[in-house]
Subunit: 250 residues, 4 copies
């Protein structure tokens, strides 16, 4: 595998928090992070490419090609807002080895910018109908767990697949603290309600001055991306299979 | 993966265009590029081998073995014809990582010869009957998109799998411009009509003085290669499965 | 693949024996080795991580994340007890290449500490009901085979998959002696009886002053780990399939 | 992948021919090469190990472990016999990349010993009943093809999977000449008749003073190895599937 990071700018940040926002169950992290990028006008400062991404081009608006990519944005907090590094992208890696490398490079970037706290978001798939999504969490240590429990999250049992789990677990090995916050979702479709449930307490914790009123805009953009992939037309059953094969929406 | 390029000759070219012609849906690119090699008497100057190619030998005419290979040809344009680099071969790589590496090496070769424009060809599979194949395109940028739209192509939505998509998308990251041009095809068989539809406007754009009268010769040669692989005897349903597994004709 | 060993302490050991205790059929090695770590208060001195491990985080007690990991413990024998290196962990590697690398690194660690004898444990799956599990063995050479036969084990025919087999076979190439000892088990569940059957003669051979009375504690802990993975809820048939795919419990 | 060759002795050979004898369809090459090793008392001079081999230990006679391995033997011809390098083993690599690396290392060994001619053997699976197996061939060039046709072989169409095909095809790229000789076989079982058919003209061509009377001994030994793998008990249908998955007997 070859995973490379191209850095356009090296921002000076004050004790930033890394928020992971790659595609996953219900696109919870994807929507939430895109919304933060929109609202905070976060700035793109690095791109990450991996030969473990799918081998295709994606067509974007107006006939332009896009490649599978992960992007890093930063935000310098105003007033008492926390500085942020945002990891956003249109894919995770297709192999476990690719995922390990992706997380390793991400931690390199975070470390270099003085970050020592990681928040990963995600969806927790539920087959039953969800009226109000509940939050679940797992953390690197007691202190970070307390941060997550303070948001009203319950302790999670089981595994957390993909970058959402791996980034916290591998980060812990390198001295990062942090937690993974999952909102209940039926999955398969961009779930704006689950994204809202997860993002709201994060904004409080980091004292981010962000309204969630326009969250639907980020969800709509996410839907459009999926549509351009032809993914929303795929029948559910097949999609389920694709999920496990392609790690595309995990 | 190990992907190596053996260079036999380093041609001096004037702002050449790279045309990709590897096996893919309907063998559109494969036929079109082979025809250009035939008609322009393009010269082989490099071979590319990858450990991500299938691990077999192919038998060619008269009992000789052939290995899976990608070849580079060049053509120095006469009069106002554009100089060309032609990528031709009997396979794509079997893994996404192999495909990324293949495209990387191809861009290295192109870059070294002063090329900054890439045209990839392909088929767009349609289940319905096709009377006159329509053309679709996606491009690296507005300018290249205009080039493709000028050919009467429509804007493509969705993904472009394999080298046809990846080469334009990854090329863009390294400063190449270019587009992917897909002709509608039922796929599965070498489709001379789709190849004709895609190649004709390319010849116009690049002012290539090439008749398409003998295009059937290249299609027939492509059919013979497939036959020697035993591929044309495989029932359609199985072939469909093989396509996704083997990336052999994508 | 990238497999790294982080060494916290370099113990001085006298001709130590390496005991392999990774998850496998019936969790025989896993239970037995955990019990030795408990009873002997063996000390953690190194951790091994591989990008061929599953890409997820595991939740441990009280909401904390754990990563897939292999750990090395040591024990300095008292009186005439043999010095030990214990390899314990919650996973094997997911690919054959990852397994080869894992075994290579393990042999590096063992070699550096002056070890030249390897004992791997495991389960031998039987479909019929097992009243008293029998022991089977395979060894690097005549001498080590005699050690194993002295325990009342019968000679094994067939293959020994995973680290249990590979470590002895690859060790032999590097001058290690040793054997693999398998106890009959229905598999799929942590099998305390099989672990007892395998561990008892090992303790005798190495003159380890260890009671097996609390072996159930290690089995219970192993069950809890599996439960936290959600694995014990998986229907048997599916688990069987997962075994071959995931090499998780081999 | 990591593929290493350990060389025990560097024999001085005079223009030796490399004969490939790894497990494949009908075990034709495996039986034939083992017979040559037996009869000519060929000497082991190198071993090749790859992390693309299966991750298991095999139990050999009397409880000893064996690892997946490829071995190199040499034979210095007497009188006008040709000098030989014999590649024998109990497996091919499990991945295409592993196969490419295996062939690359094999060619390195051959080149270093002054070899420039390769003969690979194999079976050509036929579903109908075979009374007298016919021979088929494919070669690097006209000259080598003539050698093979002189044996009464017909020209082969289609692909030659695995090391038998790849070694000739990749060898050709590095200046080796040679051919692949396939004997018709139902496959799946060590086929002494097919091995006889392929080996006889090879002995003539290389003027090897070898009786084929005891060929059944090599076939029986091959059967025993398969039996110890438990492979001969596997129902045929499943074996067919395993073949494509495991590349074990190709």
């Amino acid at each position: 595998m070859v995973c490379t990071v191209e850095i356009y700018e090296k921002p000076k940040l004050n004790n930033p928090v890394l928020i992971e926002g790659l595609p996953g169950i219900g696109f919870v992290a994807n929507i939430a992070t895109l919304h933060l990028i929109h609202e905070l006008k976060a700035k793109l400062f690095a791109e990450m490419h991996s030969s473990a991404f799918q081998d295709f081009a994606i067509t974007a608006d107006q006939g332009k090609t896009r490649h599978p990519v992960n992007e890093f944005y930063y935000y310098k907090g105003r007033d008492d807002e926390r500085d942020l590094i945002l990891l956003y992208g249109n894919t995770q890696a297709l192999t476990t080895m690719g995922q390990y490398e992706l997380c390793g490079r991400t931690l390199d970037v975070a470390e270099e910018l003085g970050c020592n706290y990681i928040i990963t978001l995600g969806g927790l798939r539920r087959d039953e109908k969800i009226t109000t999504p509940k939050l679940y969490c797992a953390a690197s240590d007691k202190e970070a767990l307390k941060d997550a429990l303070n948001m009203g999250a319950s302790i999670l049992g089981g595994q957390i697949f993909g970058v959402a789990g791996l980034l916290v677990a591998l980060g812990k090995l390198r001295g990062f603290k942090g937690f993974c916050l999952l909102a209940e979702t039926p999955g398969f479709y961009p779930d704006v309600q689950a994204a809202h449930t997860a993002l709201k307490p994060i904004c409080n914790m980091l004292r981010l001055n962000v309204s969630l009123d326009r969250l639907e805009v980020a969800a709509e953009e996410t839907r459009k991306i999926l549509e351009s992939f032809g993914l929303l037309e795929t029948p559910l059953e097949e999609r389920r299979k694709e999920e496990s094969e392609y790690r595309w929406f995990v």
